[in-house]
């Protein structure tokens, strides 16, 4: 909402400066985002008095003047205006001024005489078209005074952020009412130059209470009927005809007022309607009456396939929600924009003026369907008080008559539904309960009354409040509590920390679990990423966004790796090859049942050098699948503590390397990551691990957390085992393992045969090639045995070695390598 400082001052007699006004509104009503000083381009202009004026010796139209511009010495200024008068005051642009049109004022010689500045015409300082002479100022000011302090052209625009609940603040009237409530000073409608007496009182036609669904109609002229059809839900429609207007330019004050709120002047009639919109918050539309036919104006719903060329020259297809104002055809989209055909133009003589209260929801649907957001639709969508209509009609007719002449008819006032004024009770105990500090009831009453609320009865503990029609946001007691709080001032309430009771909640276990995994990944040298989850997927495999921002991001990822892979490619494109990224985020998995599951997962991508380069190792090796397996194992153990984590080799032979299992259930994968990668990039690997999931759209059950499968960190508490005091015995086994036998199987047999005293079993070498027969590989393990109470004897060790080798030979055809 753009408000003019001067316009508000015409409503309420206040001394506050624009920035003081900003503080008041921001503290009590709505935030002023910005103050725009208007006409700052005129800041260098000063008031100057012409002391002497003589004809230029070398010119028959130039004057040589002596000008007092506030300096110690008079300035010599050449002037070409015929009206230059000794002793008069004029706007003066000193040397160095940049004029509104961009011209720079410099000291220069004009036909041999120096000119030190410029006396200005109205046009030269952007105050109108008059350039017949310089602008004589009828003010009492000393020479040298800044022009802006003397002439009221330097208005300030206040840009307010008005909440969607306060349509009443979308006008100077509404802001003036607030200002009045805040300051205690009364408000009144601004006096305007040349405004005549009151216009004829409207003839009111009300809907039949017994049949409120019927259309309402009446006559605005003998041969012009106006009909409001019931399904338009239009609450009030006031129409008047003005005959014999003369369309022309608006006077200076009107142009400036509109400019101050950011509206361009068009002509005197259109400006009058825009003026009333910004002054009172009531949109007004003027039709050229001569373009209307058939003797009837209907407020009706748009017909199927109906179109209208709107004022902006675009032919628009009207949606069925749209309400139109129509003669034989639509001439305006109600509450949104008028039609080109019935636009007021230079040739217009007779006007049909509309002041209405259209339905907020229908206006909103029509506005959205057409894609037009106007000052009028903005207000109708939020709600225009039907009770404002008669005052707005009177105001606009008087301004039109003052500016464009003409004779108005008696307006026709069609009322389809009466406005009930709500009653709300305010208890002082509720005020104290919600605000934490009492506000005396008489004080609260004062705030409410000044804001237009009516107190119908009051005791020391409660009052009955009648809500004004423009306050559609006030329906219950809490709304009045807010009124009291903001008028009293949020700053007046204390900020003391008071005692409190502990919460019944505890941290969502999934948060704790995710935090542990995050810490572990950071510890492993990974960077956390938080990418967007949108992907170009397929409807069969991905959840689809019904109204995506772009077709190439119309789906939600089913796997974190879909987006992490793109992030890896982004880094490769920046010629960064050391990529270690992880994310803890949601994957969106459509279930065969038709529901959508949201899984919290860990995604990891790794590629590049395993360590930073050092002079001792200039070219460190790249990450390989064994790094990926190690990271996956660690992450799975942290995410699912106390469970048996196993990485099962994938059997499909594709990019997948391992399935991550927890207690036998699949919880994730380790894979080679296929990337659009440059030739220099090293291989990429990916880990994805499920942390927990939610079936979406499930209502919350009492005492449960949102995510299922919350890992229990206590399950992972390690129990103390005695640290070894006896020496260990070690030996290595180099084994010939035939193709088809896995290391896992070998280890299982070794553990089975070795017995309880085997402390560690570490695979330390793999070899194929010379010395190893075909279809075999050599694998070497180090075995560490320890007895808790005594030193193991060589014989005991030898016995175990023999037993292990025997078992391996028998079960797996694995022999000791001898070569």
């Amino acid at each position: 909402m753009n408000a003019s400082y001067e316009w508000l001052r015409a409503f309420v007699d206040i001394d506050a400066s624009p920035s003081e006004l900003r503080e008041l509104f921001t503290a009590h009503t709505a935030t002023v985002d910005e103050i725009v000083a208007l006409r700052t381009d005129l800041a260098p202009i000063v008031v100057a008095r012409v002391l002497e004026a003589h004809r230029h010796p070398d010119s028959d139209h130039l004057w040589v003047t002596q000008v007092d511009a506030g300096g110690a010495q008079p300035l010599e200024v050449i002037c070409g205006a015929p009206n230059v008068t000794t002793g008069a005051l004029y706007p003066f642009a000193p040397v160095g001024t940049t004029m509104p049109n961009g011209m720079k004022i410099e000291r220069r010689k004009i036909r041999g005489i120096n000119s030190n500045g410029m006396l200005c015409s109205a046009r030269e300082i952007g105050l109108g078209e008059d350039h017949a002479g310089i602008l004589e100022l009828q003010v009492n000011a000393r020479p040298g005074a800044p022009f802006l302090t003397v002439m009221p052209v330097g208005d300030s625009r206040l840009v307010l952020d008005v909440g969607a609940n306060r349509p009443d603040l979308l006008s100077h009237l509404g802001l003036a009412r607030e200002l009045s409530a805040i300051t205690g000073k009364p408000w009144h409608l601004p006096a305007l130059p040349g405004l005549g007496g009151e216009t004829p009182k409207p003839v009111r036609v009300e809907a039949d209470d017994r049949a409120p669904t019927r259309d309402v109609e009446g006559k605005v002229l003998d041969d012009v009927r106006v009909v409001v059809e019931a399904d338009t839900r239009c609450r009030r429609y006031i129409a008047a005809v003005v005959g014999g207007v003369k369309i022309g330019a608006s006077p200076e004050w009107m142009v400036r007022r509109l400019e101050a709120v950011g509206v361009r002047s068009i002509n005197n009639v259109v400006d009058a309607t825009n003026y009333v919109l910004h002054e009172l918050g009531q949109p007004v539309h003027a039709f050229d009456a001569s373009t209307l036919h058939g003797g009837v104006m209907s407020v009706r719903r748009a017909r199927a396939g109906e179109t209208l060329m709107t004022l902006d020259g675009v032919v628009r297809k009207l949606p069925p929600e749209a309400v139109v104002i129509a003669d034989r055809q639509a001439q305006a989209v109600a509450g949104v924009m008028g039609g080109r055909e019935s636009e007021v133009s230079e040739r217009t003589v007779d006007l049909f003026i509309e002041v209405a209260s259209f339905d907020p929801k229908l206006t909103r649907s029509a506005r959205r369907a057409i894609g037009l957001n106007t000052d009028a639709s903005y207000r109708f969508e939020r709600g225009v008080d039907p009770e404002l209509g008669p005052m707005a009609m009177d105001r606009v007719l008087r301004i039109i008559v003052a500016l464009a002449g003409g004779t108005p008819t008696t307006p026709l006032d069609l009322v389809t539904s009466r406005v009930d004024r709500r009653m709300v009770t305010l208890r002082s105990t509720r005020v104290t309960q919600v605000l934490g500090a009492g506000v005396p009831m008489p004080t609260a009453r004062g705030y409410l009354e000044r804001a237009g609320f009516e107190i119908t009865s009051a005791t020391s503990s409660e009052m009955s409040v009648r809500v004004p029609t423009w306050r559609t946001d006030v329906t219950t007691e809490i709304d009045l509590v807010e009124e009291v709080a903001r008028f009293h001032g949020y700053d007046t309430f204390p900020t003391e920390i008071r005692p409190f009771r502990p919460t019944t909640t505890r941290d969502d276990p999934m948060w704790t679990s995710a935090a542990r995994v995050r810490d572990a990944m950071v510890g492993l040298g990974f960077y956390e990423a938080r990418p967007m989850p949108f992907v170009a997927g397929a409807d069969e495999t991905h959840a689809r966004v019904a109204n995506p921002l772009a077709e190439n991001e119309a789906h939600l990822r089913g796997s974190l790796l879909e987006t992490l892979a793109r992030r890896a490619e982004y880094n490769l494109a920046q010629r960064v090859g050391d990529i270690r990224l992880f994310e803890i985020g949601s994957a969106f998995v459509p279930r065969s049942s038709g529901t959508l599951a949201e899984e919290l997962r860990l995604g990891v991508v790794l590629m590049g050098r395993r360590r930073p380069a050092h002079f001792t190792e200039p070219d460190p090796p790249s990450f390989d699948e064994w790094d990926a397996k190690g990271i996956a194992t660690r992450a799975a153990e942290v995410a699912h503590p106390g469970t048996a984590v196993r990485l099962a080799p994938a059997t499909d032979g594709g990019a997948m390397l391992w399935n991550i299992e927890s207690n036998g259930a699949s919880i994730g994968t380790v894979s080679r990551l296929m990337l659009d990668a440059p030739i220099w990039a090293s291989p990429a690997f990916a880990v994805e691990l499920r942390l927990g999931d939610i079936e979406t759209a499930q209502p919350a059950a009492r005492g449960t957390h949102t995510y299922k499968e919350a890992a229990n960190p206590r399950a992972s508490v390690a129990r103390y085992r005695g640290v070894p005091t006896m020496p260990a015995a070690e030996f290595d086994l180099a084994l010939l393992v035939p193709a088809g036998v896995t290391a896992d199987e070998v280890e299982r047999v070794v553990r089975g045969a070795a017995g309880d005293l085997l402390e560690r079993l570490d695979l330390f070498d793999q070899y194929t090639g010379e010395g190893v027969e075909a279809n075999h590989r050599s694998l070497a393990w180090r075995l560490t045995f320890r007895h808790p109470d005594r030193t193991l004897r060589d014989k005991e060790i030898e016995g175990r070695r023999a037993k292990i080798l025997g078992a391996l030979e028998e079960e797996l055809h694995v022999r000791q390598r001898t070569a």
């Binding site: 985002d33 003391e496 948060w511 960077y527 956390e528 938080r530 979406t696």
Partner: protein, 270 residues
């Protein structure tokens, strides 16, 4: 003299101890995570716990239960990405308020961090998905004084802000509603281009939980009152780390994330 001797000897036989150390890769949390954790730590000290909720929500949890009037301009700020039926991507973390109040009886003190979605084009200052953190406190006797005290305490701790102010605002799910500003860190309240000459920076939206919201969640709104707030850790991260463009937070550029991991190293290099 001894120093010269030592440095000479470095070249001939003895080890040159000025050579660089062998390093490991350092990891780092995302700046937005760091901001969320820091916020959470301050509120934890005052008895708050963390609550989570789904990103795919129903219209009821996202709007209806939170007192949004149907088909109203109040929805304009919540341009929504819909899935199918009545499922949508939550536009704020406030549905967690409802879920928590349904799950647990008062007293409630929770913080709900999480990602939310708006149908906004991705540019230097907007993203269709961003993090939010929500706070909720409900019990008997909770008032606007508690709201001001808690948020003031937070601002002092988090921003070191000497001054805060509360401005009237509008959110359908709170009343009275208030936005909190802290004194502009740059100009210390004098007014500058960053704070648009106001001397203040907007930090969060807050208010007393609307009775209709408590009722939606089955809580007796005459007996219990509460306050809530919500803020955007991404925006705070932009300020804190001096990041000029919000897209940087999503790019996952390793060179950027490295700066967060090793701020001192990078400063030293420069």
């Amino acid at each position: 003299m001894r120093a010269i001797a030592a440095s000479r000897s470095a070249g001939s036989g003895a080890q040159d101890l000025t050579m660089p150390p062998r390093r490991q890769w350092y990891g780092a949390k995302h700046p937005v995570t760091l901001v969320i954790e820091e916020i959470a730590d301050i509120f934890r000290e005052l008895g708050f716990t963390i609550a989570l909720g789904p990103q795919v929500e129903t219209e009821w949890y996202n709007f209806g239960a939170l007192n949004f009037p149907a088909d109203h301009p109040a929805m304009d700020a919540h341009d929504t990405l819909y899935l199918r039926d009545d499922l949508l991507l939550r536009t704020h973390t406030s549905p967690v308020q409802i879920r928590t109040l349904q799950q647990y009886p008062p007293p409630i003190r929770i913080l709900a961090p999480g990602d939310v979605y708006r149908r906004d084009f991705f540019d230097a200052s907007h993203a269709p998905m961003f993090a939010q953190i929500e706070g909720l406190c409900v019990d008997e006797g909770i008032s606007f004084v508690d709201l001001k005290a808690m948020l003031n305490n937070f601002a002092r701790r988090f921003f070191g802000a000497a001054k805060t102010r509360f401005r009237p605002s509008y959110f359908p799910f709170t009343e009275p509603s208030a936005e909190m500003d802290v004194q502009c860190q740059l100009c210390k309240g004098a007014g500058c281009a960053v704070c648009k000459q106001t001397g203040w920076t907007e930090i969060l939206g807050s208010g007393m939980v609307h009775p209709a919201v408590l009722q939606s969640a089955g809580v007796d709104a005459e007996k219990y009152t509460g306050w809530a707030f919500g803020m955007g850790p991404a925006r705070i991260a932009l300020q804190r780390y001096d990041i000029p463009d919000i897209r940087i937070l999503y790019d996952s550029d390793v060179r950027f994330l490295e700066q967060i991991a090793e701020p001192s190293t990078k400063a030293g290099d420069g």
